[in-house]
Amino acid sequence: MEGVTEHLNSDAVQALASGEPQWLQNRRMDAWASYERTPMPTTRLEEWRYTNLDRKLKLDTLEPLGWIERSFSKETAPDRLVAEMEADHESSGHLVELDGSVAHVDLDPALASKGVVFMSLRTAVTEHPELLEEYLATSALPAERGKFQALNAALWTDGILLYVPRGVQLEHPIRVSRWLSESGKALFSRTLIVAEEGSQVSYVDEILSDDLDVQSLVSSAVEVFAKDNAQVQYVSLQRMGRGPFHLSQQRTIAGKDSTLDTLNVNMGATTARLDLNAQLVGSGANSDMLGLCFGEGDQHFDHNTSQDHVAPHAYSDLLYKGALDGKARSVFRGIIKVHKGAQQTDAYQTNRNLLLSETARADSLPNLEIEADDVRCSHGATVGQLDQDHLFYLMSRGMSREVAERLVVIGFLGEVLSKLPLGGVVAKLSRAIEEKLHG
């Protein structure tokens, strides 16, 4: 029973489950049993080859953050959280999660009257049990998918439910701000997004924290369903301080003729691991998958993506870019899997890495597994340094080397942002990249 500790054990699960409806209690206990059964991933597994959990994650001392009734006001909230919220543009609704408990939700009343549901997961247990029973940790991220999927399904304390009814379109993004302040803790949060047929929504999740002296684990489980003809954009901005281990497990399920795009940005945390599986289950489904990371110091980013073409005539295009300074290290392991019968698939995958220092390191494993013959698939990966011609050009125009380098890095990473022109996100990230470049 690897990973069962003084604080992470069946008593903790029982304490959370007490008072919950029976179906949810059962689901937690089953997930815990699955967690106990599953061995801790080691570097002997292909998916964990470059991230040694033994060294990177100190599970033994972590205490789970319990749910606490919290309120949010700009006066008492951390300055950085308030500043980042104020930098956001218009929204259809906000949600604030503080140390794993939702402290604030608001939603445009016009949307609420159309049946849009946007609330804390904890509230949803009593107000929308039918949605959670159907979708929460069932078909997208069931406990059986892996050790940490099971851990989150057993120990989640709160999170977000967004439900968009058939045909409803949201003009502005839904914005979620999450904040972590505590050291030595384990935070388990879930996000569930269900976009019914023909609906449209974009969703931006931003997670922030102070620098922490002692490692905390932040586990985010994200399940996104786009039904037939729905259009969903999911954006995750991870901009925590140093100290945390961020574990983001995401699965997107794209129905017939739907569009389900994702953008994952990793700039913060000491270690950040992303597992993203895009399922194209309906014919004509589309998924653009964008990713960007910028590491320095001893940051370690590990991206594990898969594009699962189950249905024919679907399209997916992945672009992940990373810039690495200091002793930072990035891993990209991505797979395009075209299942038998998924004819007329178009699937692409590109990973590009920029090494900015002598001690940075990038590993790239872009994989293909193709079991249908009438497909167009390609992938590419590059690792290199700043383009010397670009630098030379800028310097010949009178820029210092430093400024020229900064511009080339911004241009390199900016390609990803330019593909998803979502209100405020591009400006915010461009600024964040510049800040990081200035050190």
Binding site: L355, R361, S364, P366, N367, E369, I370, D374, H379, A381
Partner: protein, 471 residues
């Protein structure tokens, strides 16, 4: 598209190297692998003590290592290994003239066209039948210049110091389970030394034939290309088709000294009941070049990733690989390049064709160590799928620790386009001809690097395999 039955029916799609030679070996070990077999092999070869120790230690390593769980399906391999003969000695001693080779064995190689090729285009020829080299010869002009082209056993006997200095240094026994196995039971293969500054203008060739049923062949080749030399070595492999499975596991070690240029070409056309698990590696020193040209057409399962360890500044390595997987075949091939010195360059080009239920896998590694500045590497993989039951995979590993490097990988997967076929057929070709032409065009960038005779042969093989393939 309709199946082109007529061409399949007349049997052109069949393996053309299926013929069994009736003969009685002079010695055959028991089935399976154990210490007794290892001691027998060593005794049969009258080896020095150190080699027996080397073999026995390798056997221990082999027994301790688990079966790989990646790559192809090896689930039945242990059963196969229990049944095969690890050592079969076909004749008493190796010959230098075809006239002295026993008639039935000579006939086998004549049917494969080896003596004819030797006269026309080769600098030297080695022929291995079952576990031993039965023939080895080198043209006199190269012999006079100090070139050594011998069986591996004679290399050990006649050049003990040179042999021991390099043997097992490029691929240690413990490198992987099958290199350990080979190190325990190796038999046959070539020992090659190209002296400083000598440039061979025609290739050396070794031909490997397995004739017996349930036979394991474990050739071991050691090649040393001394400073500034240049040579090309070709190996070819065939076997008859049996209902039971056979096993081939070679270890090829190559040392390319400063400024030398070495090319190693494999045309592997084992029958479809053969497991082919081979370790090939070259150490490439300062300003030297190593080229692997790897053609895998036969076997049931091949797992083979020719490697270049670029150890000296300015070294260059390349791996050019063609794989063809027909019904029931799995070619799990690729290449590895390790950049361990500055200003090193490498290239991997892989082309695969999967037909019927065939599966082609590219698996490769490109590694740049810290300090190997200005390393440049480019990897390109193209896969062609012929039927909807075919499968292709691409698994590259790119591990970069040096900022001042430039590394790229690209892969594409495609199908033979209906438009391409339609165009060629509108010009009067039938479907099979059109398909063969498109496939030839696909592999042409690699085929053109082969000596003419082999390029013709490769194209002919592909054409035969493509007959009746339009589905």
């Amino acid at each position: 598209m309709p199946q082109n039955d007529t061409i399949t029916d007349i049997g052109l799609d069949e393996y053309q190297y299926h013929f069994i030679t009736e003969d009685e070996p002079v010695f055959r070990s028991g089935r399976g692998l154990n210490e007794k077999v290892v001691r027998e092999i060593s005794a049969q070869k009258d080896e020095p003590e150190w080699m027996l120790d080397f073999r026995l230690k390798a056997l221990e390593i082999y027994n301790a290592k688990p079966m790989p769980t990646w790559g192809g399906d090896l689930s039945n391999l242990e059963n196969v290994l229990d049944q095969i003969y690890f050592y079969v000695r076909p004749q008493e001693k190796m010959e230098r003239s075809w006239d002295d080779v026993p008639p039935n064995i000579k006939e086998t190689f004549e049917r494969l066209g080896i003596p004819e090729a030797e006269q026309k285009v080769l600098a030297g020829v080695g022929a291995q039948y079952e576990s031993e080299m039965v023939y080895h010869s080198l043209k006199k002009e190269w012999d006079d210049k100090g070139v050594i082209f011998d069986s591996i056993e004679d290399g050990l006997k006649n050049h003990p110091e040179l042999f021991r200095e390099h043997f097992g240094t490029v691929i240690p026994s413990a490198d992987n389970k099958f290199s350990a196995m080979n190190s325990a039971v190796w038999s046959g293969g070539s020992f090659v030394y190209i002296p400083k500054g000598v440039e061979l203008d025609t290739p050396l060739q070794a031909y490997f034939r397995v004739n017996q049923e349930q036979m394991g062949q474990f050739e071991r080749t050691l090649i040393i290309a001394d400073e500034g030399s240049k040579a090309h070595y070709i190996e070819g492999c065939t076997a008859p088709v049996y209902s039971t499975e056979s096993f081939h596991s070679g270890v090829i070690e190559i040392v390319v000294k400063p400024g030398a240029h070495f090319r190693y070409t494999t045309i592997q056309n084992w029958s479809n009941n053969m497991y082919n698990l081979v370790t090939q590696r070259a150490l490439v020193h300062e300003n030297a070049t190593m080229e692997w040209l790897d053609g895998n057409l036969g076997s049931k399962l091949t797992m083979k990733y020719p490697s270049c360890y670029l150890l000296g500044e300015g070294a260059h390595g390349s791996v050019l690989s063609i794989a063809y997987s027909g019904d029931g075949q799995h070619q799990d091939t690729g290449g590895k390049v390790i950049h361990a010195a500055p200003n090193t360059t490498s290239q991997i080009v892989s082309k695969s064709i999967s037909k019927g239920t065939g599966r082609s896998t590219y698996r490769g590694l490109c590694q740049v160590h810290e300090g190997a500045f200005n390393a440049k590497s480019n990897v390109e993989c193209d896969a062609l799928l012929i039927n909807d039951t075919s499968r292709t995979d691409t698994y590259p590993y790119i591990e970069i620790e040096e900022k001042r490097s430039n590394i790229g990988h690209e892969a594409t997967v495609s199908k033979v386009g209906d438009e391409q076929l339609f165009y060629l057929m509108s010009r009067g070709m039938d479907e099979a001809e059109a398909m063969a032409l498109i496939v030839r065009g696909f592999i042409e960038p690699i085929a053109k690097l082969l000596p003419l005779e082999y390029a013709v042969e490769l194209n002919r093989l592909i054409e035969l395999e493509m007959e009746g393939s339009v589905g």
